[in-house]
Symmetry: C2
Subunit: 239 residues, 2 copies
Amino acid sequence: MSGTAPDGRGGPHAFVADLTAPLLDEADHHHLARVLRLRDGDAMTLGDGRGAWRSARFRLDPGMGPEAAGEVVEVAAPERPVTVAFSLIKGGRPELVVQKLTELGVDQILPLAAERSVVRWDDTKAVANLGRFRRVAREAAMQSRRVHLPEVLALGEPADVADGPAVALAESGGEPLGAPGAGPVDVVLVGPEGGWTDDELAGRRTVGLGSTVLRAETAAIAAGTLLVALRDGRLTAQS
Amino acid sequence: MSGTAPDGRGGPHAFVADLTAPLLDEADHHHLARVLRLRDGDAMTLGDGRGAWRSARFRLDPGMGPEAAGEVVEVAAPERPVTVAFSLIKGGRPELVVQKLTELGVDQILPLAAERSVVRWDDTKAVANLGRFRRVAREAAMQSRRVHLPEVLALGEPADVADGPAVALAESGGEPLGAPGAGPVDVVLVGPEGGWTDDELAGRRTVGLGSTVLRAETAAIAAGTLLVALRDGRLTAQS
């Protein structure tokens, strides 16, 4: 049946590969049993990360898997998925950004190497960091009862994404996000502390996120909050 | 003259008691000289924390104070100041919340002891924590070039603030923030992980911050982002 995501009242949420014959990862089972202290038979919800979920009962025996206790609910993906791309910065907290963007409901998360990012990753580091970001996103998606896992993309450059009418760079003095007339923005790129270069800005739309000067991580979280509120029709641009 | 806040292009920002005869605190001078590596004569801005600011030039000699280099600009306080109150929780990161709410431009920040907060402070701890939160807010206000320091209030209870038509508790399934008809919301209270009690909810407005289940700290940051966007007229409720 179709429906909405769990609201958290049905217990904690975990992802499994198969909703018909659910089995928890060892780490998830440990978290539920030891950290959240679930007992045998306690209510929880299970998701496949691709929009389907069902109610279940936790089993203390990790070999048994949770017992399905409700119909499978299918939640439609957003019609207008939103993306936040954020530039890596020295001393930054990229895990905090990935965690918050996932909780807020952003569909696609992209770490960026902007020209002034300072931070550079070699291939080994890029693979390790992408794996860590995806683990952070998975945990945050369980915490926030998301039914669609966000897509965490590999490190890119602004040129990889900064084209198309719905893409804008966050920049002080840019148009308000969702301003009428200019068309909707679905992808916001957040620059490093040193700002975008003229090359990166050339010919591209810019959006302002407020009247204060935001740290890169705060700008990314604010962009995610506003994009999701606009995507879900809770807010609209001032006309 | 009247005007807008500095946009960050005029260098780093610091607060002084007197804009006419400015003197930097020792800690601020150290930060500017050692961490940001300003040199003698570098551009910076000075604010009094109450809406006035001016351009200046940094002096390496801490005894001299910065040299004023521009007229004093007066920025009007928001007509509809916004408040975020957030419940303390075990293992929470209240400093992160205070930092982000300050950067985003929230006018008033209030730590709450909700019924299910679990965390309790005695008087000594409450005073120490309030002092720390105010230091965090001051640093974040410098970082974000705010001209009005946010007011960080002493630990309160929902009953201290949760009355009046513009006050709402953040709660899954509540009306969207800024929904037309119900009147504007200027004060959002964010509950602890265990949620509000029936007593706290009784007879009060509730607002929803999205369709995901947000961690308390994320809910507070999202509430701040949306309240400031509505306050500044960048977004409006979907009608």
